[in-house]
Each structure stands twice: as structure tokens, then as C-alpha cells.
């Protein structure tokens, strides 16, 4: 991120005394795709509404390309907004919907027609120009909304859970389509979602929201592999959390002593002190089940449950540190309930979180 295109500086927002966004800083680069990820009520949608101009911050400033916009009304912000509910004009045809922003800009009719046709072709809806929104499927309606938000070449496109109302298959197709459009047009996109998979697959960076603050903002890989807090680790995918105490802290690694006295070697970016209480995060897909304890880290365990999931097998094991989940690849030996095993993992496969 070289160029701070969108900048939120110490922004707060309260509704009737309840703080929804709490003293938040956020910068987004030109051409970047940033996802705002978090549970409902974490403030991510409020941030989007402040960017669009439908809410104004209680404190702090919002700027776009160096100019303050927090007092600018929505119609003068030149941002495309895509809503979860599509928000198409029900009384206008698809073509009229897409032409709307161009007409608002006083563009001449022949040019409007050309641009509308190109935008509809881009979302593969050229044949539906004369239909009313009610005559389209949900996925088609959302593609119209997308075309309408892009046709006037806005500086920024804001998307508020745009795929939330679509079924899984359609959602995945639309994720690819939006990513493709983002890359082709070099748009700056701010994308609100509560679906962590969506955030990881689509974004350049993901900002994880919790209680009106950003817990962590980083690339999908960094945020998944190196969560900064327990909240981030738990919100992004499934993880096993093992509590322990720092025995010895080294450069980039630490030895953690867990419940039954076993020592775990784990990677960390945090500066840890000996004796500090920490949590080790261990992703289920990094956990191996092995008959022997010959690994840097090994916890003795008994198989509690094994469930076939098609592409993988989920095994729940009881270890001295509590119940753990392992995703073992299909084709791996099946485990019987009660079988004795060892949960093994490399130091680089687990991650220390401060508590």
C-alpha cells in the first residue's frame, strides 16, 4: 500500500450513547481490495456507511485522495455502493437502472446507451436490458446492481455483504467475477462481509473488526497464519486453542508448558517473557495423528470421534489439554473410537497468542 487513497483518522461513531466505532484508524490504498470482516454489530457496516456518506462520524475525519469528505453528502462522493438487498429501482428496467448514474451526470443519450450496453455485457446481462428487476433471479439482480455501481467509473466501490443473499454456488461464482472485475478495472473496493472464507479468497487485505475496533489488518495469509489476537484466530476458520505458560522465550520461537507438563515449541512474533500466560493456536489441518511420539511436538490423545466429510475426515481427540480437532486428509488411515494416538505438529504449525 503505497498511496493512502482512503483514510479514516481517529473515527468514532455513537448511536444514542452506544459506541459502534471506537477511535478507529484505517488507510486503504488506491486500487486495493480491502475486506472489513467481523461479527454483526462490530462496526464494519457503520464504517462503510460513513464512507458512503449515509452516516457521519461523531468524531474524527474521513478523507479521499487527500480531501476531507466526512461532511460531503452521498450524492457528491462519487462512490458506487452495492447493497445486500440489491436496492435496484423496481419501477425501472435493467437498462434504466444502469443508466441512472450516467443520467444524473448529465451524459448525452447516445453515450449513455453505449456505456450501459458495455456495462451489461460485462456482467453478462446484455439480453436482459428491457426486463424489470422483479423478473430476474437474485444473482442476476445483484449483477445489475454491480453494473450500476461500476458504470460511472467511481473512484471507490463499496460493497455491503453483496453476496449474502445468494446461494453457495452462485456466491462462489460472483466472488470470482468481482475479483476479476477488480483486477481488470483497477478499482478500489471496500467489501464488508461476515464470511471469513469470502474475505480470505477475495481481498488484498482483511481488516478484522471486533467491538468497534480493528483487531488486525493484514494480508489474508498473514491474518490466517499469524493472528494477532485470540479473537482473530477464532474468527478466521477453525482452530484449537491450548492454554499454557511461557517456559523459555527465544527469537521467533518459544517453549510453552501446557496443562499436563508437556513442552510445546511454537512460533511467535510477540516478545514474550518467561512465566507469561499464553494461548497456542493450532489449526486442525496442521495437526497430524501419528502412532508414535517422534515429532518436535506430540500430545498423547485418544480418538473420541471420527466423521467423514468427503474431502477430509474430521477427528476429535481427547488430549490432556482438552478436546482437539484434526482434519486428516481422505485416504489417511481411519481411526476407531478410543484408539490411542499422538497429536503431532511442527513448531511452525502452531502460533503463540498473548492472553
Amino acid at each position: 500500500m503505497t498511496d493512502p487513497f482512503i483514510r479514516l483518522d481517529r473515527v468514532s461513531k455513537a448511536f444514542g450513547g452506544v459506541t459502534v466505532v471506537d477511535d478507529l484508524d484505517l488507510t486503504i490504498g488506491r486500487g486495493e481490495f480491502v475486506s472489513l470482516l467481523g461479527p454483526s454489530g462490530s462496526g464494519k457496516t457503520t464504517i462503510l456507511m460513513m464512507l458512503a456518506g449515509f452516516e457521519s462520524p461523531t468524531a474524527g475525519t474521513v478523507s479521499l485522495d487527500g480531501a476531507r469528505i466526512d461532511r460531503l453528502p452521498p450524492h457528491r462522493r462519487n462512490m458506487g455502493v452495492v447493497f445486500q438487498s440489491y436496492a435496484l429501482f423496481p419501477h425501472r428496467t435493467v437498462a434504466e437502472n444502469v443508466a441512472f448514474p450516467l443520467r444524473m451526470r448529465g451524459m448525452a443519450r447516445p453515450e449513455v446507451a453505449g456505456r450501459v450496453a458495455r456495462a451489461l455485457d460485462m456482467v453478462q446481462l446484455g439480453a436482459f436490458a428491457d426486463r424489470k428487476p422483479a423478473q430476474l433471479s437474485g444473482g442476476q439482480q445483484q449483477r445489475v446492481a454491480l453494473a450500476r455501481a461500476l458504470v460511472f467509473e467511481p473512484a471507490v466501490v463499496l460493497m455491503d455483504e453483496p453476496l449474502g443473499a445468494l446461494d453457495k454456488q452462485l456466491r462462489e461464482q460472483m466472488q470470482l467475477d468481482i475479483r476479476d472485475i477488480h483486477r481488470r478495472l483497477g478499482l478500489t473496493i471496500v467489501f464488508v462481509t461476515h464470511d471469513q472464507g469470502e474475505a480470505l479468497t477475495m481481498s488484498d487485505r482483511v481488516a478484522v473488526f471486533n467491538k468497534g475496533r480493528i483487531e488486525q489488518i493484514a494480508t489474508p495469509r498473514e491474518i490466517y497464519d499469524h493472528p494477532r489476537t485470540r479473537f482473530v484466530a477464532e474468527f478466521l476458520g477453525e482452530t484449537n486453542l491450548i492454554d499454557g505458560v511461557v517456559d523459555r522465550a527465544g527469537a521467533g520461537t518459544a517453549t510453552i508448558r501446557v496443562a499436563d507438563g508437556t513442552a510445546i515449541e511454537a512460533a511467535t512474533h510477540h516478545a514474550l517473557a518467561s512465566g507469561e500466560a499464553v494461548t497456542v493456536s493450532l489449526r486442525p489441518e496442521r495437526l497430524r495423528l501419528s502412532p508414535s511420539a517422534e515429532a518436535p511436538n506430540a500430545l498423547p490423545a485418544a480418538v473420541a470421534d471420527s466423521v467423514y466429510h468427503g474431502d477430509h475426515i474430521r477427528v476429535r481427540i481427547d488430549a490432556p489439554t482438552g478436546s482437539l480437532i484434526a482434519r486428516t486428509p481422505r485416504g489417511a488411515p481411519e481411526w476407531d473410537r478410543g484408539a490411542r494416538t499422538f497429536a503431532t505438529f511442527a513448531p511452525g504449525d502452531c502460533w503463540v497468542l498473548p492472553r
Binding site: 452521498p74 423496481p90 441512472f100
Partner: protein, 259 residues
Amino acid sequence: MLRPVRLVFGLLATLFLLAPLVAILPLGFTASLFLEYPIPALSLRWMTELFTAEIWRRSIVNSLIVGAGTTLLATVLGTLAALGLRDRLLPLSGIVRIFCLLPMVVPAVVMGVGMQVLFVRLGLANSYLGVIVAHTVVAVPFVLVNVSAALAGIDRRVERAAASLGAAPATVLRTVTLPLALPGILSGAVFAFATSLDEVVLTLFVAGPNQRTLARQMFSTIRENISPAIAAAAFLFIAGTVLVAGAALLVRGRLSARG
């Protein structure tokens, strides 16, 4: 087992509502001089009377003038009120709404007396404008209720989308809000027209002899000479109302098919 009971109850309820009409309408086509059954012979003499006798003809024209004026004024005011009271932005909007709806429940006699006194002061007594204003007061609540319901059905995000696409607030209102609320506005207008046609009490207080409306004329005729012209006027009334409501329903149907 419930089905026949429901059917019978439905029929009785319908009969209860229609009985007065069934009783009066045939008398509009009687050849008799009096408002009485049995009808000796069918005739159009009273219908002809309505359109030829100056006093009846005049009252029909008056009803149309006052009805049109009331519909226009009440629809504009009621729609504006509904828009203004939409977002509870004002801390007093609840109270303001109640004030706007009050004419529905305040006895017309009370308002009539008040208006008579007030209109004399304002120089509106015995004028078309006075009658239109009086009718508008009682018609506005119907428009307000209908338009408010239509506005409540509009997804706010559609208006937000319009704003984000570059539409200034006035443009959003013109291109999105009003077209989407149009069915409700139309219903409100029909109610306003019907209210004005039907209004007698306020008219008695504020109208002069020159603004005698059809309803007012029927009212005085029934006291003076119980002529079957009243029944003929009633028929005209019903036919007119059904026609206006039917036209409105048709347009509404078109609008929703469009949306």
C-alpha cells in the same frame, strides 16, 4: 363444518352492508311522485330531473368543483405531511401526526361551528375556497394514512442507492420516492374525493347558497319534499364513486405490474 357457517356469515355481512343501497337505488327509477314502495312503473323522469332542474344540476357541478379542489389540495398537503413525518426526525413528529389525524375523530359539528366563525373573520365564508378548505381538513388524514403506508413499504436502501449514484435529495424524491409511493398517493386521492362528495355537516356550516353540493342538496330535499330525485342522486353518487375507485384500482394494477 366451519365452511357453511363462514359462508352464511359472509353473506349476511355483505347483505348488511348492501341493504341500504338495495333499498334506495330502485327508487331512483320510479315513476311515482313519492319515495315509496311498491314502484308503480319504471321511469327515467327523476334522472332527467337531476340534470335539467337548475338546483340539482348546479349542485352536481358544485360537488365536482369542490371535490376536485379538495382532492388536489388534500393530496398535495397529505403527501407532504407523510413525507415530513416519515423519519421521526422531529422529536414532536408523533404529536404532529396525531394532530393531522384528529379531524377523523373530532365531531364534524364541532369543527363546523369553529370553521364558520373563523371563515367569517377570514372572509372565506360562503365561498368555494372556504368549502374546499373545510373538506380538505377532513380529507387530509385519509391521504396521510395511505401515503404513509406506501412510504413505509419503500426500501430505504433503494433511495440510498440513488443518492450514492449521484441523485441530490430532490432528485431522489422525484425519481424514486414519489413514483414508488404513487399507488398510495392515488388511493389517498380517491379517498379525498369520496370524503368531499359525502361531506354534509361542514358544508352546512361553511357553504353559502351558491356552494350547495349534491350531498347538501339531498339533505335539504329530504326535509322538504322527499322527492325520488334523492334516490336518483344517490344512484349517481354510487355510480360516480364506483367509477372513480375502479379507475384508481385499474391504474394501481398497472403500476404494480410495472414494478
